[in-house]
Amino acid sequence: MRLIIIIWEALFGELKAVENLFEVRWHGRGGQGAWTASELLARAAIYDGKHVQSFPEFGPERMGAPVTAFTRISTKPIRMHCSVYEPDAVAVLDATLLKTVPVTEGLNKKGVIVINSKESPADVRKMLKEDTGRVWVVPATEIAIKFLGTPMTSTAMLGALARVTGIVGLESIKKAVEERFKRSDIVDKNFAVIKETYEKVCSE
């Protein structure tokens, strides 16, 4: 009897740990802040009492080259240290990446994909190669230029992703942004961007 309980716990305890794991992949271009966005999400999740990992993956290190960043959030300490292959959510910081990078790779069917684009979700869906995940669209570049003056879409996409997945609250994002950017005027501008995208993100 005792043995059965031990085996049961070993099997389903592990499964539960897998269920609690939430993985995000960020696609961006060098200089847009894909890494910063993944770090901000991780910091925000720490304020929600979660265990996190955040790490980038570069190709050529220069402006405009495609960059991937990953965030792993779990309610338990994370023992996995590998790259993210099957994300639950994908954020695309630049719509032109859809032509060159396989953004839907490994995304599970219940997953979400948040894309920075001016077009409607149905039009963006046609540009994707695979038919997995639910597509959400937000005009992040316009919003970023409106508030920040530069086309840096990191915080804009963070706001959209927080709304879509609900993995972190706005309060903890604000704390994370304050901790990361420090200067109060930059914090205010970036939080205005986050609030705007949080409201404007729309689905198909």
């Binding site: 271009r29 405009g64 292959y85 630049d94 032109t96 990446l97 032509k99 396989p102 790779e105 490994g106 570049t141 316009e142 230029i145 086309p151």
Partner: protein
């Protein structure tokens, strides 16, 4: 998963680039694009010299310049250097 990558036997010797960079369009991700005001432009060709990507071409048969938007990265150097401010950076 990822498409299978080429083995060392299939790639060119010493991994020398076998495709010219003109085949890969490097300017499709720009946020701003330069738009020229034809009346203000004096054809001084400073923008042709300053363009870091060689994306502005002088066409002698037309007597005019031409932007190659396939390779323009939208850096805005041409608009900054233009003495008559004939080039304006517009959102794509």
């Amino acid at each position: 998963m990822k498409p299978k990558e080429k083995s060392w036997k299939e790639i060119s010797i010493a991994a020398v680039c076998w495709k010219p960079s003109t085949e890969t369009l490097t300017g499709d991700w720009k946020t701003y694009m330069p738009v020229r005001d034809l009346e203000k432009c004096t054809r001084c060709l400073l923008c042709v010299l300053f363009c870091p990507d060689g994306a502005i071409h002088w066409k002698p048969e037309k007597g005019d310049i031409e932007f190659d938007y396939n390779f323009c990265k939208g850096c805005g150097i041409c608009a900054n250097e233009c003495p008559t401010k004939a080039i304006e950076m517009k959102l794509v």
